[in-house]
Amino acid sequence: MKKYNNYRLFYVVKLLTYVKEFIWEMVLYLICGGIYRIIPIVSAALTAYMIGHVGSGGTIEAGFIILIAVIAALRGIFSYLDCMISHDIAYRILSKFRVLLFEAIERLSPSNLSTKRTGKLISTTMNDVELLEWFYAHVVGVFLLSIIIPIGTIAFLWNIHPFIAVAVIPWVCIVIFIPQIFKKKADIQGNEVRDKHSDIKAVSVDGIQGLKDIIAFNWKDSYINKFKVTASEYEDANIRYSKRKGTEVFFIRIFIAMSMLSVLVTSAALFSNGLITIEWYMVAVILSGAIFAPISEIMSMSSQFGLIFSSAKRVDDILKEKSYVNEENAKSYNIILEPVVQFENVTFRYPGQDKNALNNVSFTVKAGEKIAIIGSSGAGKTTCGKLLMKFWQPDEGRISIGGVDLQDIDGESVRRQISTVSQDVYLLRRSIKDNIKLGHNYSDQEIFTAANKASIHELISSLPDGYDTKVGERGTKLSGGEKQRISIARALLKDASILILDESSSNLDSINEKIVNESLITLMEDKTTIVIAHNLSTIKLCDRILVLENGSVAEEGTLKELMNSSKSFKQIINKVS
């Protein structure tokens, strides 16, 4: 979008590129839709002709009436075809958009999504995409037809008498021009409406997920008020949009009616002077109205253009957003890399922050070695893990696995080398089994074995539905320890040669903790392990310790070395445990 004037054209072209693969269906649609829209015009002209004929004293055959009945039946058939074909194209494209949006969000996650609200993303994927149905089902084909049909009709009127066509043409031009005047305003207002609509979704998701806290802090009334404001702001935007639409409707109605009036008067003059017969007079008057049917169909859509194109923009913005993680030169790697992790002078800063999260950090983890990273919150421990997972990328320096620079491997392949057990375990809203499988094809036996090793098998089996028990949303039905053990089972199944444990035993009750630690030891066997540690018990499991302070490596050594040599380390250890 370079200039504002090109805004709509830009998105029309963008949206049209998706029609390409449905080109033959589109042609079929134009034929059926064309017939469907011509039928009422033909039938109106025929009846008008007959009325005129009878009015001037003529008689008509009964056959005419049957012809009209047949046309009425055809109208029904083609209305069916028109709708089915256009919507089939439209909904195919909508599904495609939804998948493309999913892919884009997958690509952007988690780095670009830290500032976005999920509710709004959903609103775009569901509601904005749904709105594009108008474009594909009611604009693309109709637009062509609303050019062809009026031109044909005008040509027909010209045949009756050129003056009649001349009386219609200016009004048609004016009517088509009206939305142009309001275009800019329509686009701005349309954007506002769509944006406020997505706020409703976001505020309700926040409200429902935070229900317990809202109630606990007696915040209910103000939150309801907040929601009220969001809902009303959306409706205010809607009303402003409709007011403008009303003004458009006002002018369009006037000019359409004026067209009929001028034909009425012009033809009256022609008839009085004997230039046309009464039959054609009637036909002309009726057609001068009918000519606008396809035009007003597209006009009524054009009053929605503001909404359609702002939805198109919101969809397109997500599709074309660049991820912070640059994958341009990255290739997919199918081989298993040697589990050696190396950070070389890594410096990293989160966007929008003015302090580096990591400063010139260097360390190496040898194959099979277990290293603990400790430090106070905000020291950069978790950031190290995220960089290694290629969820972010360093601003300077180099991270490598088995000597291969992460820059050269795509994120998917990087993550294939690594298992994680993280602090905030997310369980999807599906069965426990599916949560352990996470889409992979593990056999039941493999799952049971992993669950057994993670000391969770017994508990799962004791549930009424066993492994098919559905996990409550955000995992609320399982305790912290249980969730953690499920995530350990996931990691066991994945069996990657590198393991990242993020504050893995911080949130558990005591009985669980012992079990979790035992399963962790099983999990860590033979693996290159990075533990972002909080508890002495896990630190003790490691060969070497790395102390981070303000994004830099402050100290490094074995537990013994550090205990003996470093005062500050002792302090940290005392704080930690």
Binding site: I65, F102, P110, L113, G119, S242, A268, N507
Partner: protein, 576 residues
């Protein structure tokens, strides 16, 4: 015709504007009919050939007047349409949102957030046109048709009958389809809501999904679910379009066929030929709203099928209705919470049995037990999220159901195990505790909760955004922010639900001191397992199998209680 009294109840409070909208619609119908009649009379006079110039100008004048009036009304109608929709939608959304609070948090644990938030946004949006467009359109069309058909019967019975058949067809055909449509319409919404809820879930869990290389499988699920929408929509459309085809046919019979019949009868001399122009134009003006009624019926139908889900949500059991009193006298000073023979469970499984407990002011009470022994349920009961099966809970000596919710909530605050951070800044998130607090008070609360230093280390300090659901914060930081909310609220009862991450490591002793300080004059309940946390509590309750197993101080229990020793031993082995 789709009129159903249950749906009408959803727009209660907007009946007047709906009536107004109907009146506008009918007025527009009249103007249209007048406009077309003028044209018809004009034509007749032209045909008679004896028209005077003056008469021509009068006709043109009247027609222009009607055109402008019609356009003005159209403009107002467009505005009023949105206005009416806004009234209905806002009312309903707020009603639903309040309902969510009455249902309470326990319902939303089982994965309903996605679905319910879709109801709030999309379903309500789809319902509005039923009231703002379909209903007014329907009523005014019926009124107009009565007038039209009466006139046609007056002219000729046969034409009247043909027209009537056409109109009745348009009005009654939908009734034969409603059942077929309803199933598919509901299915449509289900598929739509299903994808929406699915996306909410996978977007929020995307980091996990990527970590386990599950993206391509989840992608396939998204493809299947969105293709299911396509398939279902097409099936639904097929049914509705066959119906629509019949409607179109029916309307065309009523209009074109009736006109053709008129012409035929006129050429037979059965009706006077001067009437045919009037009939031609009257019928075309009257049937254009009938044709558009066919289009609005689909809008209306979408609303009807959405209403099923809205009505269903409004019927969900309100767990939070334990507080029946609307206004009660203030409680002077909260002295104790008393639970008397309280039992409770989910579905048919009993979780707590005959619990009798008293929590006193000036005391910190800890509740310990393995997971699944009923600790969280105990908190949910005290919070009034669920109603006891048997037994009662008292504040001082007043059963909590005799208190107003507002009053009760002002006495109690909770730090949840997984506190929710709302979209906004840290400042806003702490202010939830007391929206009227000053900046200094917020900082003092944050210092007490030992989160101030961390906040100040952020580039934007208290104005830093927490990200969605507090994405930028660790579990412990979220709990400490929640603790700051708690200190700010300064309520006489404080509950800490598994505060292990907030209290761990270096912050522990500091936060404990702060807790001890504020526990003067307060009732503090801690659900925890950490030996340090529990040891400083004045009293410890051990839960087992949904019953109070034992109660005492740390040292008492260590000496006498094996279960307690067991709980503590496991803890110490691993953290020291």
């Amino acid at each position: 015709m789709l009129i159903n009294f249950k749906i009408l109840s959803l727009a209660i409070g907007s009946y007047k504007p709906i009536a107004k909208k109907t009146a506008i619609q009918f007025f527009i119908w009249c103007i249209n009919a007048g406009h077309y009649l003028c044209i018809a009379f004009f034509l007749r006079e032209i045909l008679n050939g004896k028209i005077k110039q003056n008469t021509i100008f009068t006709y043109i004048g009247v027609i222009i007047f009607l055109i402008i009036l019609n356009a003005l009304l159209g403009k107002y109608d467009s505005y009023f349409d949105a206005k009416l929709g806004s009234l209905i939608k806002t009312d309903l959304r707020i009603k639903l949102f309040k309902k969510i609070f009455d249902i309470g948090p326990s319902y939303f644990n089982s994965g309903n957030t996605g679905h319910v938030s879709t109801i709030m946004s999309s379903y309500v949006e789809a319902l509005a046109p039923y009231f703002s467009t379909y209903l007014p359109h329907l009523i005014s069309t019926v009124l107009g048709s009565v007038i039209l058909v009466t006139y046609l019967f007056y002219v000729n019975t046969l034409i009247g009958i043909v027209s009537l058949i056409g109109i009745l067809g348009v009005l009654s055909l939908p009734n034969f389809w409603i059942k077929l449509m309803k199933e598919r319409g509901n299915e449509d919404w289900k598929k739509y809501s299903d994808l929406s809820a699915h996306l909410l879930d996978v977007f929020q869990g995307m980091e996990t999904i990527k970590s386990f290389n599950a993206s391509s499988n989840i992608r396939q699920e998204v493809i299947n679910k969105s293709l299911a929408i396509h398939k279902n929509t097409m099936e639904h459309l097929a049914v509705s379009q066959i119906e629509s085809g019949f409607l179109q046919f029916s309307a065309a019979i009523g209009s074109s066929f009736a006109v053709a019949l008129t012409a035929f009868l006129a050429s037979n001399g059965t009706i006077e030929s001067h009437r045919i122009f009037i009939i031609l134009f009257l019928i075309s003006s009257c049937f254009s709203p009938i044709f558009s009624l066919i289009n609005t019926w689909h809008l209306g139908f979408r609303g009807v099928s959405a209403s099923n889900f809205i009505l269903k949500l409004l019927k969900v059991k309100e767990e939070m209705k334990i507080f029946t009193a609307s206004k009660t006298k203030a409680i002077e000073k909260v002295q104790k919470i008393k639970m008397e023979n309280v039992s409770f469970g989910y579905e048919s499984k009993c979780v707590l049995k005959d619990v009798n407990l008293i929590f006193d002011r000036n005391k910190i009470t800890a509740i310990v037990g393995k997971s699944g022994e009923g600790k969280s349920t105990l908190i949910n009961l005290i919070m009034g999220f669920v109603t006891p099966w048997t037994g009662k809970i008292f504040i001082n000596d007043c059963p909590i159901e005799n208190l107003s919710e507002e009053l009760y909530r002002s006495k109690i605050s909770v730090v949840w195990q997984d506190p929710y951070m709302f979209y906004g800044t840290i400042m806003e998130n702490i202010l939830i505790g007391n929206p009227n607090a000053s900046k200094e008070e917020v900082e003092r609360a944050a210092k007490n909760a030992k989160i101030h230093d961390y906040i100040m280390s952020l580039p934007n300090g208290y104005n830093s955004f927490v990200g969605e659901r507090g994405m930028t914060l660790s579990g412990g930081q979220k709990q400490r922010i929640s603790l700051a909310r708690c200190f700010l609220k300064d309520s006489p009862i404080i509950i800490l639900d598994e505060p292990s991450s907030a209290l761990d490591g270096k912050n522990e002793s500091y936060v404990q001191d702060a807790l001890k300080k504020i526990s003067k004059d307060k009732i503090v309940l801690i659900v925890s397992h950490k030996s340090q946390t529990v040891s400083f509590a004045d009293s410890i309750v051990v839960l087992k199998g949904g019953k109070v197993h034992s109660q005492g101080t740390h040292s008492e229990l260590l000496n006498t209680n094996l279960l307690y020793c067991d709980l503590m031993k496991n803890q110490e082995e691993h953290s020291a």
